[in-house]
């Protein structure tokens, strides 16, 4: 693949494995084994079976007719919101738990921001009967209390991250510290296409089912497997990478990645990483991250906890730098308005993360025959409080 990873874990200038020696054996074990395991026929059969019968795949590709009328193009929604647990996060969690089992691991750790990845991980651990510890920023635990309860009900232990800014990046730090102390029996299920190699590639492969299905569904619906545009929101970037994966090498397909501008790119309260960040190292990979001129990581802001991350995955940094994908940003207000519009035009209440991708449609112009696919990465149940507060329902 032209935009894929090389043997050392790099995508152009980005990627690698900038980890302390304590994590080297864990990461090396994964690096040596992940491709053999996930390409094994037995693994594939079990993964496919769970995606079909447990997650409910393939997720529909829905032709959104009222959206199509409004925006003057054929708009398709890739319905990851209909997956078990309510978002695309489950695809990766299923893949990694099967991998962890084959590696003989007895204990799973994960980080979570909004709680979607934590819930997906707690779910697959319950399914497999494996101990699960989820690190979550103390502030996020208060903001996303229902997801904390969901994880506990699923049998997971939720540990508050009390260091630093007490949000997603600190939860990630705490999970890494746990992994340093438990190098032999524990697997760390990272929730996005971030972290040291091979995580960005491994998570992208597990999420690539999104674009694999989309291609087949587009062929049935439109007579061509290639659309003109593909849109997805980006925090760390896992749904976007899954949505872009099988379209990346077809340069005719325009890829649009939507970041969270928060209260505005220049407001000082934003998570628009490509607009505000510089190259550096975060959570084990060389990428683009929001940082001070002294190289300290800046705490981002977005109303959407799932996009509230100071970096992007290294493959996104590569797609950005090579201009293969266009990176844009949407404010809190624009996203919330788009969430309301989607609810009332299509009867789908999207996650606020997803609403960022939907809002981008307002800023684009299309030819009438353009086929446009948007990844509906998650459902909005978890965000009802925020929507209700904003619109006063």
């Amino acid at each position: 693949m032209k935009y894929g990873v090389n043997e050392h874990g790099y995508y152009g200038d980005f990627g690698g494995a900038y980890i302390p020696e304590m994590l080297y054996p864990n990461v090396e074990e994964l690096k040596q084994q992940y491709l053999n395991i996930i390409n094994d026929e037995g693994f594939k059969a079990e993964f496919d079976d769970l995606l079909k019968n447990y997650v409910g795949r393939p997720s529909p590709l829905y032709h959104a007719k009222r959206y199509s009328e409004k925006y003057g193009a054929n708009i398709y929604f890739k319905r990851e919101d209909l997956n078990h647990t309510g978002s695309h996060k489950i695809n990766n969690a299923i893949g990694q738990i099967l991998l962890a089992k084959r590696l003989g691991k007895k204990r799973i750790i994960a980080e979570t921001g909004a709680g979607q990845h934590g819930v997906a991980t707690a779910t697959v651990c319950a399914l497999m009967g494996i101990e699960c510890v989820v690190y979550m920023g103390e502030i996020d635990m208060a903001r996303q209390a229902p997801n904390v309860s969901r994880m506990k009900m699923l049998g997971a232990t939720v540990v508050p991250a009390t260091s630093g800014s007490k949000t997603l990046k600190d939860a990630t730090n705490e999970a890494l510290r746990d992994w340093i102390g438990n190098p032999v029996d524990t697997h760390y299920i990272i929730g996005s296409v971030v972290g040291p190699y091979p995580y960005p590639d491994m998570v992208a492969r597990f999420q690539s089912i999104i674009s694999e299905e989309t291609k087949k569904q587009l062929l049935e619906n439109t007579g061509s497997e290639l659309p003109q545009y593909v849109l997805a929101c980006v925090g760390g970037g896992s749904n976007a990478m899954g949505m872009f994966y099988h379209f990346m090498d077809d340069e005719s397909v325009k890829l649009v990645a939507v970041e969270a501008a928060g209260k505005g790119v220049s407001s000082g309260e934003s998570a628009a990483t490509t607009a505000l960040g510089k190259e550096g190292v975060l959570h084990g990979s060389r990428t683009i991250l929001m940082q001070t001129e002294d190289g300290q990581v800046v705490e981002p802001y977005s109303i959407s906890a799932g996009l509230d991350y100071p970096g992007i995955g290294p493959q996104h940094a590569h797609l950005f730098k090579t201009s293969r994908a266009r990176y844009v940003s949407i404010t809190d207000d624009e996203a919330l308005q788009a969430g309301l519009l989607c609810s009332q035009l299509e009867g789908i209440i999207p996650a606020i993360e997803t609403a960022h991708a939907l809002a981008q449609l307002e800023k684009m112009t299309f030819e009438p025959n353009d086929n446009v696919v948007i990844c509906i990465s998650g459902r909005g149940d978890k965000d009802l409080d925020t929507y209700i507060k904003y619109f006063g329902y």
Partner: protein, 256 residues
């Protein structure tokens, strides 16, 4: 031959190194603390520069890093403070910190500033062997700085050999796979690991760090290596009132 090599050439037993975070508990204390440590008998020093996301550190050093950042510590500020270093301190000094602040400062510029300040070596826990060897080693070598690698009980023999080959002062042995600040429990498996390292007859001296807290764990570590490093326990002392007057007692308490 830098100060580290000279030290190891003249002394190879019971070496004591102390770590502290620059900018903690206050700015403009780095050289004062370094000088007090030398006077109290420390053989060499590690000066940490703070980072917002120190994944290899436990709560004590995390806290010291947060306070140091709030105080305004940065590499620029640190190098300003270190202009006084070689007027007052003669023992070897290493800088220790994470890669991203170095990358933003500029790795070539960082090595040059460190060498100009009279620093002898660098420890960057999240700069891995592959990246060091293939991208960054010329900067260190041209500035005469030693790069110090970490080895854990899980590090393979092949990798330890490679680390030994790329090192030119000492190898930092971790007492176990752990973040900083946890107590060393000398179990059979740790003893076996130290014996395995000793049997490899490495060309570089070894120093044990992480989990050394007092005279007894220091003495035990010195049975298996050329010396040991104390970090979190000393950083805790720096959080106490009147810490400058307690440094001598602390160091002498570790190695009577």
């Amino acid at each position: 031959m830098n100060r580290l090599n000279k030290l190891f050439a003249t002394k190879n037993k019971n070496l004591l190194s102390i770590y502290f975070t620059a900018g903690y508990p206050a700015l403009n204390t780095t050289v004062d603390i370094a000088e007090a440590l030398e006077k109290s008998g420390a053989d060499f020093l590690e000066i940490g520069f703070p980072y917002s996301d120190p994944v290899a550190d436990g709560p004590t050093i995390q806290h010291s890093s947060e306070v140091a950042l709030e105080n305004g510590m940065s590499l620029k500020v640190l190098f300003k403070e270190l202009a006084e270093l070689r007027k007052r301190v003669s023992i070897p000094v290493l800088l220790m910190g994470y890669f991203n602040p170095i990358a933003q400062y500029g790795i070539g510029r960082f090595c040059k500033s460190a060498a100009e300040a009279g620093v002898d070596g660098i420890i960057v826990p999240d700069l891995p062997l592959f990246e060091y060897e293939n991208m960054y080693s010329p900067y260190f070598i041209d500035s005469g700085l030693s790069n110090i690698f970490l080895v854990t009980p899980q590090t393979s023999e092949e990798r330890i050999r490679k680390i030994d080959e790329l090192s030119n002062s000492f190898i930092y042995l971790l007492s176990s796979s752990t973040i900083t600040g946890y107590n060393l429990q000398l179990s059979d498996s740790i003893e076996e690991y130290y014996k395995r390292i000793t049997a490899m007859q490495l060309k570089n001296p070894t120093i044990i760090g992480f989990g050394i807290t007092d005279s007894s764990s220091f003495a035990k570590a010195c049975n298996y290596a050329n010396g040991a490093i104390i970090g979190s326990r000393f950083v805790k002392l720096l959080g106490e009132d009147g810490y400058m007057d307690k440094i001598e007692g602390f160091v002498k308490g570790i190695r009577p």
